[in-house]
């Protein structure tokens, strides 16, 4: 590390404990950073596309996750390197914003950095590269809008939406029943969508999974599924036209928060206390009964006595329902969450057509279905699968499909998939490059090359000759002026993605390019990395 000296020639300390820190500077720092980011991208590269492979991740506690979802893989990988973490963030922000294309964005960023490295070696200043990339990204995004199509669907004709979700699901392990899952996802989104405002609140869709059964048994429940059962084994298992009291107070004698003591010093007081206690339970149950509730859902536990009284008065009850679920039930049934028995009124009750308990398999697992709710806007996707890993992976895949459907409802422009959009952009950027004077031209051209990275990876993963396939498709696109030509991953013998019905949302793709460019710019701008050496 460089040392500074004062006018008397004594060493002058700039960084505290600088001899214990390692420092990388200039080109060296940039190269190290690019290397780290590239190695993250390299891990994900093979997961891209319908023939992409999965990764098996073992967490520190020994749990195994098998996934194909870029965001999940990166999250569970526990990346230590700072630049690596940036890539993880990149994929996560794509996940939050769009929900899909998490692998693609990392692969694009990796390809951009790879090209940047070559330019840096030629002595081009990183800032110029970054600026060139910025320009090129703008050209690409503009071109995307040009080749995009608006996509027609309505709440009655959901087939186009299902098609799109199927594209998303085809790269996951669940692609065996992608048609079923895609339909479930679309129906779920449409059930909660506000088509006029073009908005979807995904919080209203609950994704619940239970190990066991087949993937084909996955179902969409127009209502809520809660992993709980009736508090008393003899309560009715099926309630029709249920009026639901949603309580957050326990069926127990009240516990004042202030410290207090009740002294008993005579038999009368003892008797009185006993009476009072009995009255508490009686009143609580009576109160619920009086307002006309036919089902009580409670966040807390019940005392044995209260439990029996409830059962005795013919009032089925569910206890220990979690806060989030309670809220969902309240939304779905149109009820209010009541924190105190005194505040219970008939208007605050929720309504549901059918509440039933369903048992599964040979074990004693039971779940509670609340269906035909007053406000049918809340739905549950109930996933079954052969193992915990399968259920978890299905959950993630469904989440992706839900996001895609939501994005289409928000903005119904699409571009075609299979790498066709990237190739089209690459051609456009390449053409534009020639008109840009200065060093940036090189950067823009590099950007065009980097865009080829995604279709290249797709072809590679599908077992095709990457360079041959890519150049053939590119030539064909230019010749036929048809931006819908992509890589034929599934070996269907046509390159036209329009015919194959493979498409992606325009916002998703735009976001991918913009996010990737942003992160690359950020990484390029770093020219000094100071890390404290390992703690001993």
């Amino acid at each position: 590390m460089a040392l500074a000296f004062d006018e008397y020639g004594r060493p002058f300390i700039i960084l505290r404990e600088q001899e214990q820190k390692t420092r990388a500077k200039g080109l060296e720092a940039q190269k190290a950073n690019i290397m780290a980011a590239k190695s993250v991208a390299r891990i994900l590269r093979t997961s891209l596309g319908p023939k992409g492979m999965d990764k098996m991740l073992q967490s520190g506690d020994g749990d195994v996750t098998i996934s194909n979802d870029g965001a999940t893989i990166l999250e569970q990988m526990e990346v230590e390197n700072q630049i690596g973490k940036l890539m993880v963030e990149l994929s996560r922000s794509q996940d939050y914003e769009i929900g899909d294309g998490t692998t693609g964005v990392v692969v694009t960023a990796g390809a951009l950095l790879e090209q940047a490295e070559i330019l840096l070696e030629r002595g081009i200043h990183p800032i110029r590269v970054a600026e060139g990339y910025e320009q090129a990204a703008r050209i690409a995004v503009d071109h995307l809008s040009k080749i995009s199509h608006s996509f027609e669907f309505s709440s009655t004709n959901i087939q186009p939406l299902v098609q799109t979700c199927m594209t998303t699901l085809s790269s996951k392990i669940v692609n065996r029943c992608k048609a079923l899952l895609a339909e479930i996802a679309v129906k779920a989104v449409l059930a909660v969508a506000d088509l006029e405002r073009k908005d979807v609140n995904l919080d209203l869709i609950k994704v619940e999974g239970k190990v066991g059964g087949k993937l084909e048994d996955t179902e969409l429940v127009y209502g809520i599924v809660v992993d709980k059962d009736m508090s008393h084994p003899q309560m009715p298992k099926r309630i029709e036209d249920a009026k639901i009291a949603i309580l957050t107070c326990p069926f127990e004698p009240p516990k004042p928060k202030t410290k207090h003591k009740i002294d008993i010093d005579s038999t009368e007081k003892f008797e009185a206390l006993r009476e009072a206690e009995k009255k508490y339970f009686d009143e609580m149950v009576q109160k619920c009964k009086d307002v006309g509730a036919t089902l009580v859902i409670c966040q807390w536990g019940f005392d044995d006595e209260a439990n029996h009284l409830l059962m005795h008065r013919g009032l089925p009850a569910v206890r220990w329902v979690g806060g989030v679920e309670l809220e969902l039930i309240a939304i779905a049934t149109g009820g209010r969450i009541v924190p105190r028995f005194q505040e219970l009124t008939p208007e605050k009750l929720g309504r549901a057509g059918i509440v039933r308990e369903k048992s599964f398999g040979t074990t004693k697992d039971r779940m509670l279905y609340i269906e035909q709710c007053a406000n049918s806007r809340a739905v549950t996707i109930f996933i079954r699968g052969a193992s915990k890993m399968m259920v978890e992976e299905t959950k993630r895949s469904i989440h992706d499909a839900l996001c895609v459907a939501r994005n289409l409802i928000r903005d119904n422009s699409i571009v075609y998939g299979g790498g066709s959009a990237e190739i089209a952009c690459s051609i456009a950027v390449e053409a534009a490059a020639d008109r840009i004077p200065g060093v940036e031209q090189y950067a823009v051209r590099a950007f065009a090359d980097a865009l080829d990275g995604v279709p290249m990876a797709l072809a590679e993963n599908s077992g095709l000759q990457p360079i041959d396939t890519l150049t053939a498709v590119k030539a064909q696109q230019i010749k036929e002026k048809n931006p819908h030509l992509g890589i034929d991953c599934n070996d269907v013998k046509t390159n036209d993605m329009k015919e194959q019905n493979v498409f992606e949302t325009l916002i998703g793709k735009k976001q991918q390019i913009l996010l990737a460019t942003q992160v690359v710019k950020m990484i390029l701008k770093i020219d000094d990395v100071i890390t404290p050496s390992q703690y001993i």
């Binding site: 073992q58 195994v64 066991g212 044995d304 006595e305």
Partner: protein, 526 residues
């Protein structure tokens, strides 16, 4: 000077190495389980690492895998799959793992021939669809004929039991299990069947009791048998009834007052007992303890009081006698009481138990298992559980297929035919699927000490004919007609085995990279 991407102890394995690691892990598990397959399969001793080093001897795949501490991630997939098979259908836990392993073994060969795993998966998917539909076509359904259906059930139970420790007495136990399941009348509610284990006697002494048996004692000085019993099932404190209001405490200033309050407490209990008596019952079963004082009161009133029945016990008792579980006793007229014809104390070995016979819900019954040691009993319970689960599934889906390697060879033949018709590299994978299927009967034969190569090839020849019923007859060591030998299996179980095994194999094949995060550091306990 590439910086490290992961934490220090993290391991990253890629491509070929990753695939090899998962193959090796999966195959190790399979080789471990392989020897337990089939009627002549061997058992494993499992010793737990926890205190006591308790030992169990078992043949059940799911039980073995559950007790293993496995580090290899691919092996964990297999453990998972067997656990699910256990939860869903109850049996076939070994078969599913072995089949999955064989599929992977075949896949490994293909991968070495430079065939892409995705192509293998495509082929497997085609093959599994073909196999399933062929098997479905050849099922037999005897639901219409109760006599034959019962025979089917007994055969299925015997097939399941024959690989377990109960094989000596399989006829006896098959009858027990079928009788128990038939009593359920198709409801499939296994909770109504209770299994009680009592050491002593021999397995042959196990029996099915049509009533409900509670492993508890009757209070002292109370009647030992009651006819036409009215039962109140309760979950209430019968020691001292605590005041549940928070913060209450007793503070007195004179000795006499203590006595008064004690009297009041006693009085309270007495009143409670009175209220209970007002229900007009002659038997009282409580989940919690009954103290001496109330017990005495019950004895005085000539009522049988049973204390400390555990939660499952009273739930089941309430279910079978049709009573409700009560905790308050203020309105006797509307409480539903349980009924049964006779309550009596019976002796099994040296233990006294209480039997409720002639209960309202005719579906309930109890199987009392006797055996020389707890290990034998535990294993017997597991085996019986398997058999009951399978029977229950069969009652719901009454299609049966033959056992002894018949379904595997049948499917293998049709899958082979499919392979011949399929163009492209996929056909190799389809062919491998058939080979994996054929490995199952080979393992069964090997375990029985027979010449597997000879047997399987003979079977294969037999199966080239239409409508062949041949399978391995392990007892004589030859090829036999499965229909005559009465070796049946439930279609639902077989289907689940094939589907889940393929799914698991697919999952492992799709992996091309394994990243093991650094193990969480255990904090040193001071």
């Amino acid at each position: 000077m590439a910086d490290k991407l992961f934490k220090d102890d993290a391991v990253e394995e890629k491509g070929e190495r990753a695939r090899m690691a998962s193959f090796i892990g999966a195959l190790a598990i399979v080789d471990l389980l392989k020897t337990t397959l089939g009627p002549k399969g061997m058992d494993k001793i499992l010793q737990s690492t926890s205190r006591g080093h308790s030992v169990s001897v078992t043949n059940d795949g799911a039980t073995i895998l559950k007790s293993l501490h496995i580090d290899n991630p691919a092996a964990k997939v297999l453990v998972d799959i067997s656990k699910v098979q256990d939860d869903e259908v109850g049996d076939g836990t070994t078969s599913v793992v072995v089949l999955c392993g064989e599929l992977l073994r075949e896949a490994e060969k293909l991968v070495n021939l430079k065939i892409h795993p995705m192509t293998i998966i495509d082929g497997y998917r085609m093959a599994v669809e073909c196999a399933r539909s062929v098997l479905e076509k050849r099922t037999r359904d005897n639901r219409a004929d109760p006599e034959k259906f019962r025979q089917d059930l007994i055969n299925i139970a015997m097939t399941t039991l024959s690989s377990k420790i109960l094989s000596q007495e399989k006829e006896h136990f098959a009858n027990l299990a079928v009788n128990a399941v038939m009593r359920l009348k198709g409801s499939g509610n296994l909770e109504a069947i209770q299994i009680i284990k009592k050491a002593g006697g021999s397995l042959q002494d196990s029996f099915l009791d049509e009533g409900f048996i509670l492993d508890k004692k009757i209070g002292v000085g109370q009647p030992k048998s009651i006819q036409n019993a009215k039962i109140l099932v309760a979950n209430t404190a019968m020691d001292t009834d605590k005041v549940k209001i928070y913060g209450a405490r007793v503070r007195v200033d004179a000795m006499s007052k203590i006595a008064e309050i004690e009297a009041a407490e006693k009085d309270k209990m007495k009143q409670k007992v009175q209220k209970i008596l007002a229900h007009g019952i002659n038997c009282f079963v409580n989940r919690q303890l009954i103290y001496n004082f109330p017990e005495e009161l019950f004895a005085d009133a000539g009522i049988m009081a049973i204390e400390h029945a555990d939660f499952e016990g009273i739930e089941r008792l309430a279910l079978v006698t049709g009573g409700e579980i009560t905790s308050t006793f203020d309105n006797p007229e509307s409480v539903k009481l349980g009924h049964c014809d006779l309550i009596e104390e019976i002796m099994i070995g040296e233990d006294r138990l209480i039997r409720f016979s002639g209960v309202e819900m005719g579906e309930a019954c109890t199987i009392v298992l006797r055996g020389a040691s707890t290990h034998v009993l535990d294993e017997a319970e597991r085996s019986l559980h398997d058999a009951l689960c399978v029977l229950c599934q069969t009652v719901q889906d009454s299609r049966v297929v033959w056992g002894g390697g018949w379904p595997e060879l049948l499917m293998a033949r049709h899958v082979d035919e499919l392979a011949r018709k399929t163009p492209g590299k996929k056909s190799l994978a389809v062919e491998s699927f058939a080979a994996a299927l054929r490995a199952i009967p080979a393992i069964i034969a090997d375990n029985a000490g027979l010449d597997s190569a000879d047997l399987v090839s003979r079977l294969r020849a037999e199966h080239s004919k239409e409508d062949c019923m041949s399978g391995i007859d392990v007892l004589t060591g030859g090829v036999g007609d499965m229909e005559q030998l009465g070796i049946y299996e439930a279609f639902k179980v077989k289907q689940a085995v094939i589907l889940s095994a393929t799914e698991a194999a697919e999952m492992i094949l799709r992996v091309d990279e394994i990243i093991k995060c650094a193990p969480r550091k255990r904090e040193e306990r001071m």
